[in-house]
Symmetry: C2
């Protein structure tokens, strides 16, 4: 029941005219107070109403970011970094007002060190763009949230996606960041060595900090050789439990699946309609296997056996690259496909993640809560990690409905937390999960986060009011 409305107006302060003049003088047409642009920068994929910033600045360089931070600091005025606008928990809503710093123009792949399996990019580079630009190297970047998010945003939210079960998340795949601090210093958090014990882990501190500790202006990521062989499979199950048991056993056996996704019948229906597929409307797992020809065959055989043992049927291979692409594109568009199931709706999407042995209890519990609620909803997710999303379709203009939906969300998250799980596997806290984080981290854990925030951003100008209340 975390809504931004109550804290909005009390905290907002208009754009100081002197700051507006200075920004306009420094950045010309790249600075704007146009209402349409502000509105665009004040909404994300959360169910929250638009909360526009006071102005928008299109940054082109680290130098621009330093200048913008300097001016905002002088006026103690908030800055909110903006990427693809695809965050889900209200991360970029300007609840304290502020300047939206649009980084999408910083979209150059700065260097690809194919020999080192690394690339360094500006924060506005999207995951698809990076993979397109490195296609000829034989390498790929695996982290793939549903949206074609920017790498800066993905780092800021500690994002993951379908490949995380094999390749890890942004936490494991960012080697180094360049960050502009609240005081306008440019800090490179690490070098490109694969491992280091050199001091505090500044890289990991900024990953997941949602723009509250610094503004990411470069990201160095790990790349991977494209696997020699890939195969994907779709399997139907008689029940959610049967599908989940298959997943649990797969992970416990250590099968190095590259992808392992769960979809319930309503999700499949949404995908079929949105992406013109003809999948059976059943509890379904999508698998993908990466490795050598033999390795892939071995993995698939184990998983097929486990699936069969659990009552899985219609094990269907997507062996042609174009079939796989179609399948995974559909999966990546699932969120938008779900939204289309109820015109005009928005979605509240849970994002719980539990230890793998608790997945059945967590997912089955969520399913029952959703069923009892009567909401149109879908369950879909990265179950190999113990992570799934319940997408609850809501009318954002019906406060009573919103409140009921938040109550269901609340119950699902509390269930996961009671199972030694987290309120968010990959979406972050933003505004929506501030209450859940407070419970999860505990007062003393939260106090450490607050102290770090105050130490690094004493004027509280970097995306204030997100993750926790100071």
């Amino acid at each position: 029941m975390n809504h931004p409305k109550p804290i909005l107006d009390a905290l907002k302060r208009p754009l100081p005219p002197a700051l507006e003049t200075a920004l306009a003088a420094r950045f010309g047409e790249r600075f704007t107070v146009s209402q349409a642009v502000r509105d665009h920068h004040g909404k994300d994929e959360s169910p929250f109403p638009t909360v526009p910033p006071d102005a928008v600045l299109y940054a082109r360089s680290t130098h621009d970011v330093v200048a913008a931070v300097g001016l905002c600091r002088e006026h103690q005025f908030p800055l909110i970094p903006y990427g693809a606008g695809s965050s889900i928990e209200g991360q970029l809503l300007a609840i304290h007002g502020g300047l939206s710093l649009d980084l999408t123009g910083m979209n150059r792949v700065l260097s690809v060190a194919a020999d080192d399996l690394t690339a360094t990019v500006e924060p506005g580079v999207t995951r698809k763009q990076l993979n397109l630009e490195i296609r000829d190297t034989g390498l790929f970047f695996p982290i793939d949230p549903g949206a074609d998010a920017t790498l800066g945003g993905m780092a800021a939210t500690r994002a993951s996606g379908t490949n995380a079960v094999r390749y890890g998340t942004m936490r494991e795949n960012v080697l180094s960041l360049t960050v502009v601090t609240a005081e306008g210093k440019v800090v490179k958090t690490a070098n490109r060595a694969r491992k280091s014990s050199a001091g505090y882990d500044l890289t990991r501190l900024f990953i997941g900090s949602e723009g509250t500790l610094g503004i990411i202006t470069e990201v160095t990521v790990r790349l991977y050789p494209q696997p020699e062989a890939i195969s994907a499979a779709v399997v139907n199950f008689p029940s959610a439990a049967a599908a989940v048991d298959t997943v649990i056993q797969t992970i416990q056996l250590g099968v190095p699946v590259a992808r392992c996704e769960f979809l319930d019948p309503p999700s499949i229906r949404a995908l079929n309609e949105h992406s013109k597929l003809e999948l059976r409307e059943a509890y379904t797992l999508f698998f993908e296997f990466h490795g050598s020809e033999n390795g892939v065959a071995e993995q698939a055989a184990v998983v097929q056996q486990l699936s069969t043992d659990n009552g899985g049927a219609d094990f269907e291979w997507a062996s042609r690259p174009e079939d796989r692409t179609r399948l995974w594109n559909a999966r990546h568009n699932a969120y938008f496909a779900c939204l289309q199931q109820r015109p005009g709706c928005k979605a509240i999407s849970t994002d719980t993640c539990v230890p793998i042995s608790r997945l059945a209890e967590s997912l089955e519990g969520a399913r029952k809560l959703l069923q009892a609620s009567g909401f149109q909803s879908m369950i879909i997710g990265h179950v190999g990690d113990g992570n799934f999303h319940c997408v609850i379709l809501v009318d954002p203009n019906d406060p009573e409905e919103m409140q009921r939906a938040e109550l269901v969300n609340d119950q699902i998250v509390r269930l996961a937390q009671s199972l030694d799980g987290t309120c968010t596997g990959e979406h972050g806290i933003g505004l929506h999960k501030i209450g859940f984080l407070a419970d999860e981290a505990g007062e003393d854990g939260l106090e450490l986060m607050r102290r770090i925030k105050v130490a690094l951003d004493p004027l509280n100008i970097l995306n204030p009011g997100k993750i926790f209340r100071l």
Copy 2:
């Protein structure tokens, strides 16, 4: 040229009698000021002279640690957590005096969740102890520094070892920590979910903080299924360059080697003598492969081909478990084997880590610097990560020799840093690398670390003077 001597005496302050009385009253015989015990707790595997703490306390519980922190805080007196005493860079030397908090008595495996592939242990549990206790589960914990270090110490130093190339380091393999803060609060940094986007990454903040931000009292780690098949191989090369090229190509091809270790002829000689092996005194790679029977065979075939292409010979298999155990035990004892090559010596061991494409330049450069120096030395390391150690044998009582050795160390580290590498892959900063970290992190990066330290330990009582100077 970082020696603790100059900063020693000025900063030391005697144990306040009131604190001594209070600790003795609270802890009885588990608190001691015996000189022998203090001396034992004032030395590690670094070449530094012993710098004993003022007293030693044997903690048995998180509760003990809270009480000790409370008393030390009251008297603004330093605390230095102590594990196996196997740190290499002076991490536990009591340069400001203080109470050594010996955590080796906190050595219980608290829980093993085999279904989740996790275990939670007290900080004094050693890596060998953990693997012994979980042997029957079919799981293992891969992180293996040379010494049988404690998991608390390994977390505090962001340690790794021979398996890191495949399984990652403590950074990737700790899910959660319980930490006692400088103010005596008990904070659990995370739950057991495999991934989370819930707020700042406190887990990673404490990993590698070398006891300066909090005292680790529980560690939850990831476990892995014991591979279906394992094979190990030893290959000789005509030159260091030939061995290194084989490694670089192996990594660039994405072969998922589990272990990939380089040893130069003097290291092999030391191992042969110390562990009664009969390896050829040549530039050598030790490999290990984990996977299915077929997978292991495939990996080995690729590596064998690469080795042959680079002039490798005598590809020898260690297929029997007892042969492999002998081989890796010898490798783990390499540091001590090297020390035995010069009676009475100590070792300065570099620990550089560079991006894999720079490994040849880094290792060959180090080799030449060592050769020119005339020191008895060995090169040995986890080259699959770009990480290796030069072990320089020195007479700690010969200041001139120490200074010359530090100069060589300095040159080797600077070379790695110039190649986009780090001054420490896995040993940490301690006292010895404070100067290198300052250069590597830069003044602004270091300032962020200092601010975090001050925010979390405002009285500077937790292992003061390590990693950086405030």
